[in-house]
Every structure is written in C-alpha cells, then in structure tokens.
Symmetry: C2
Subunit: 431 residues, 2 copies
C-alpha cells in the first residue's frame, strides 16, 4: 500500500481523487434514468414487467410480482439455522440502539394561554430498495427496515430484483421478514424507484425511499426527490483509520481491507503520526491481500483509492480526517475518547482497538447506512429521524394575541402583506 | 369563493390541480440552470458578475461584492425604528422556540466496557439564499438564519441579488445583521446557489443551502443536492382551515386571504362540516377582497387554487386535510386539541380562533419555512435539526467483542465478505 508524506498539496490531490467516486459524476446516465421513470409513470406495472424481462432476464406477471407467504416460508427452509440465529441476535442490538433515537412530541405552555410545540408523526409508507446482483447483504436489509419499524411507519414496502428463476434470494426474504417488512415486490433498478415514487396498479406510492443501489438506482432516487423523500445518495464505501504509534498494525491493516473488499471504488485510508506504523501496516496489508478471497477487488481499490498518510502531528492528522469526512472512522490512539471530541465529520466513529469496523456493519446496533464521499460534513447515519416528520404547534389565547397584535400588523405592513395584517386586525376590530 | 360538496372524485381532482403548482413540474428550465451552474464552476466570480449584470442590471466587482460594515450601518439609518424594535421582539420568540429543539450528544454504556452513542455536530458553513425582486421579506431572513445560529453553525453566508443601485434592501441587511449573519454577498439566482455549492474566489463552498427563491433557485438547489445538503424545495404557500360550525366566518375568511395574497399560485382551502359556515365565509371573502391592496393576486389565487369544501362529517374533513397535507393548517373546531391529535400531515398547525396564521409567519417563534405541496407527508419545518449532523459512536472492549466475535465472522462469511470476517478474527488469533 502506498505511503505518502502528508502535505497540503498531497491532501488536495487525494480529496480531488476521492470525489471522482461520487455518484454526482455520472450525469451521463440521467437521460436513460429519466426515460425509465417517465415510462413507469405512464405504463405502470406493464413497464415494470418489461424492464424486469429486459434487465433481469425473467418474466414476472401480476400473479408472481408480490412475494407470497409461501415463498417466505420456503426461504426459511433454505437458510442456515445458525445464520437465522445470528440475524435475530443482531436485530436485538439494532432495535435497542434505534429505540434510543425515538423522539417525543413536546409542548411548552405559558399561563397566559399560549402553547407552542412540536408534534412527531411517523411516515405512513416507506419503500426499501434492496439490490440484487453480485452481492447479497441481509445486514443491509435489517439496517434499512429496523429504523422505519421503530419509528412506527405503518407500511414498509420492499422492492428487489428477482433472480433468473423469478425468486428473491432466501436470505433476503428471511432478513426482511425478521425485520418486519410488510410487502415485497420483485422489481429492481430505476424502475423500482419510479414505481415507489409514483405508484402503479400493484405498488402504492410511498412517502420516502431508502436503500442502496447501483448508479441507476442512485440517479433515480435523486430524480424523484421532492415527489418523495429519499435517504441520501450512497457512494462507494470508505474507511479512515486515525492511529498513533500505539496502534496494532495487524488490526489496522485488516480493518482497512475490510472496506477495500467492498468494491473497486471503495477507499481505505490510514492517517498516522507514526512512520513506523505506516511501514508495518503496509507490510501487513500485503500479507493479507495474498490470502483473501476478494484479492483482485481489494488490490484495485487500494491502487486507486488507498493511502497511508504520514502526518507531522496529531492535529494535522485530525484535520485531514475532518476534511476527508469518511463514512467510517476508526480512532486507534492513546486516548481515543479525547481524539473523538476533536472529530467534526464522520459517519460512524469506532473507538479503540477492539472496535473493528465490521462490528458496526453487523452487530453493535448503530446503523451501517452512513454518509459517504465527504457528505458526512452535512448528512447523518440513517436513523429513526429519517422516518418521522415534525409539525409545529401554535396555540394563542385572545389575551396573548392582544398583547402583540399591533406588532404583527406592523411587521406585515412593512412586508406590504396587507391581508396578513388584516387577518390579525379583524380579531380586534370594534364589534 | 367557490363552494364544493366534498366527494372522492372532487377530492382527487383538487389534489391533482394543487400538484400543478409543484416546482417538480418545471423541468423545462433545467438545462438553463445546469448551464449556469457549469459556468459558475468554471469561471467562478467572473461568471457571477456577468450574470448579475445580465439579470439584475448592475455591475458588481470584487470590491463591491461583499456587503461592508458601513453598508450595514447605513441600512440602520434607513429603517423605521419601530420595525427594528418589532424585529428584535420577534427574534426573542424565534430564538426561544428553536432553543427547545437543540439536541444533545448521548451515549449509553454497559459494565462490560461497551459504549454506543450519537454525537451531534453543527454544520460548519451554511448558505442562506434571500430573494430580491418584487417582495422584501425580513421575516424570512430571521427564520432561515436563527435555527442555524442556535445550532452553532460557525459561518452563515447570505447571498441576495442587489438592486439596480448595487445595494441590498436596508431592511434585509438589518434583519440579517440582527439575526447574526456572518457574511453577505450581492448575487442571486441559480448562480448564487452554484457559488455556495462549489465555491468561487470570494465565496467559500458551504455544507448546506437554505432559503426560498424562484423556480431557477429551486431547480439549482435540486441540481446541487448531494454536493451539498439543501433544505427542501419550496413551492407556493398554502393554508387549509379545518372548521366546524363554531368557527367565526370573518376570521376564517381573513386567514384564507392572508395566504392567497402571497402569489397567484398560492392555495387557500376551507374544509368544513358546516354548509352555513361555507356560505358565510364565501361572503366574507368577497367583502375583504374588494378592499385589500393585493386584490388581483388574491382573486387569481382563489380562482385557480381556492376552495371551500363541505364535508359530510369531521372524519371526512380530517382525512381530506391529511391528504392535502397543507403547509399551514388552522383548526377551528369545538375542541381543536382533540382534532389535532388526528392530524398526520401538516407543516404548522394553528389551534383555535386566536391562532391566526400570520402569528406564525412573524412572531410566535416556530419556523415559517414549512413543507409545501403535499410534502408535509415526509418533510418537516426548518429547524435546528437541519443545521446539525450526527455521527454514531461505537466502542467495544476486548471482553465484549470476544463474546460475539464468531457471530460477526459467520455473518460476514454468509455475505461472502471474508476481509470483514478476517478483521474480527485477527483480534482473537492465537498469539
């Protein structure tokens, strides 16, 4: 793995290189995606079935479109019992963490009869997109469904592309069922996003669409944003390990590779104050790559977006971590909690040498759907907050309004909004 | 004002008619907006000054681009002192309400050495767009800046188009200064959004862009979403009054008109169970329209998007309110609090006959930046939450990880992610 001495110039080059991975760069597919969306809006289910035949190579009909209870039961017979048991254990942790995110409606009242508040209401219908294709990630199914469920969403509708046999992977069905999904439809790609956003004969329009997908799915989500809400636009995975000389190079190397294996666009970066650690991690990485099953992907990812950066001091290292704003940040320093207080931008922060990143992917409880590509500067992990909306509550008594009615009228008049002023004034006109 | 007997068919027609007002319908301007964005990314300040000359008819240079302290001082001399006093009173209420929205980082630890948490960090830089043109709304300046300020945003950067004299309206400057803005630049339109999203020589890239604007501004915000965060895409204003026979028709009529006067696309709807109230409100509306200064706008708005709907019962009336999901909802019924508990979708809810909508626009404290066009089904009022982001915190001890390490390894292997499994396994290999 390349070792680079951290300079301002190097840092800027790296930041620019990493942004090449952004789904924002793929606008060339926008027209294709818009065509698919328009077609689904116009032809609904018919368009979906045509795309599924074209892209997934399987004929789906009204009768086979929705996953049946029998299909789910069958799926259970095909999944290893040990895996079901692990999924159930993980679910306990994931539910437990998200439960702590639940917020309450509140109000604050005064004795003059005024009351102000904020009402929390769960979204009514949510669409969860689950990718098909090369990789099957039941953990991702859990992470997208649980926060919606905990928020109190009435209907959770999942879509996922069927295999050539017209079935959904058994483990996907089991994970979705365990997490509490309400309906599952066999459709993927931009067409699935369009169906969820605008509705078809079979799929009722949802309020929000979440879940990862390929570039077509990402662009479709961006295109329908505003018609519905979306989570964020997911980019390739990332890890940044912030380490000093106290870190175990073997653990650091293994953790870097855990993200590098996701895909060739994934990024694994070590920022360290220790030149010795840099060298040792690089050696350990070389040793691991040889024996890991996804070595081709890992090597390409490391060559394109992997760096070991040696910083002059911890301040420079922390500043760099904040500028990169990584999806996953591991802090392996003498005092990880102290270092953590200086972190501004990161999706999830893993503290100390036993908080390996995959612990968060599967088991600890916090969501593994995290902001990528520097968007941790302004986006947050998927959470219960994503599945509720707020309404302000305003209640004034006659007495309270009377005290301030001329202020409001004068403010409205200053904005030349006389009907605004009038609506307050009529309440105090001579009767 | 037209009175319509509520039926399923009428309701669907109305819902469809209202959605015509959505900024999502204006994709024909997308190419123009994309060209502006590309030009600003390439030519930065130079492009901004060219657009300002073209669209706003005034030559701005590096020297006059940023509003100076002297310009702000000068603005104070031109604004009515009474208005400044009202702004300060409103600010107290707005700050006070938003202060209640502040959330804390939290953690939960167990005695086996595990700790999970959620860290709250304010966004570093926020851009606030303030429209120029026909209308000057200092209240909107307050509502966009205060939540960012309360959240702890380090730098709040405002952009607004200059007038032909190269100046910003004095009241806009005063409101921005009172609310605590850090920098103000004289640029508007899609070019201002592009500058905030990507940065120029003068304007540093921000993390999030908020604030209302015309269709070009709305489309530009949608286009840069993902590069930065945005609030939501604002549509025309709306009010829905839910009333029974106990409501005062004169107040209801005045409140409907307060939103109808905003623009010709605004929508004012009364849903009532009382035919008598319907008739009386219609008469009162006619009386008011004659004498109000913005009567042309009001009449067009009412003709296109104004309705008095008579429902068979309160349940039907409430269901309709939930389906329309109005930006502003007034509840004027026998027991407004009871009715409120049945409301799922609304930006802001005003309870009882003295909670006239303009009270919320200017003074009560809750934000007046609210979801429009049915998006209250999934979007929320602008709040302190919009100016923070969250990071998950995960810290496991060796002891805690040891208990579950084989579960994680097996889960990772089931997803065929062997480097994930390896990163956990190395921590428990025989040393």
């Amino acid at each position: 793995m390349r070792i680079v001495k951290l300079t301002e110039k190097e840092k800027n080059n790296i930041l620019e290189n990493l942004l090449k991975r952004s789904p924002n760069q793929y606008s060339k597919f926008e027209d294709t995606v818009n065509d698919i969306i328009e077609n689904v809006r116009a032809n609904k289910d018919k368009a979906l079935f045509e795309y599924t035949e074209k892209f997934d190579g399987v004929k789906i009909t009204e009768e086979t479109f929705k996953v049946t209870d029998e299909e789910i039961e069958e799926a259970y017979t095909k999944v290893d019992e040990r895996l079901i048991e692990i999924i159930r254990k993980a679910l306990v942790n994931i539910r437990d963490y998200h439960q702590k995110q639940v917020r309450y409606s509140w109000f604050d009242s005064k004795t003059d009869g005024t009351l102000l508040g904020q009402k929390i209401t769960p979204l009514a219908r949510v669409g969860v997109y689950v990718p098909g294709g090369k990789a099957v990630y039941p953990s991702s199914v859990l992470m997208n469904i649980v926060p919606a469920k905990v928020a109190g969403v009435e209907k959770i509708v999942m879509t996922t592309p069927p295999g050539k046999d017209g079935k959904v992977y058994p483990i996907t069905l089991v994970a979705a069922h365990e997490a509490g999904v309400d309906e599952i439809y066999k459709v993927g790609g931009a067409q699935a996003v369009a169906a969820l956003a605008f509705g078809t004969e079979s799929i009722k329009k949802v309020d929000k669409i979440v879940g990862p997908g390929n570039i077509f799915v990402a662009l479709a989500k961006k295109a329908v944003y505003g018609h519905v809400s979306i989570d964020s636009i997911a980019g390739p995975s990332e890890i940044l390990v912030l380490a000093d000389e106290t870190a175990n190079p073997r653990y650091v190397a293994a953790d870097l590779l855990s993200q590098a294996e996701h895909d060739e666009m994934a990024s694994a970066i070590l920022v360290t104050t220790s030149e010795e650690l840099a060298k040792k991690v690089s050696e350990e990485v070389d040793g691991f790559v040889k024996v890991l099953s996804r070595k081709e992907i890992i090597q390409k990812s490391l060559d394109s977006y992997g760096y070991i950066l040696v910083a002059n001091d911890m301040k420079e290292a922390i500043d760099t971590a904040n500028e990169i704003a990584s999806e996953h940040l591991e802090i392996v320093t003498k005092n990880p909690f102290d270092t953590m207080t200086r972190i501004k931008n990161a999706g999830a922060i893993f503290l100390g040498e036993y908080s390996s990143e995959p612990l968060g992917d599967y088991f600890a409880g916090p969501n593994h759907v995290l902001p990528t590509n520097g968007t941790a500067k302004f986006f947050s992990p998927l959470s219960v907050d994503d599945f509720i909306k707020k309404s302000s509550i305003i209640s004034y008594s006659e007495e309270a309004l009377k005290l301030i009615h001329t202020d409001i009228e004068d403010f409205a008049k200053a904005e030349k909004l006389t009907a605004h002023a009038n609506s307050i004034a009529v309440r105090f006109e001579q009767k």
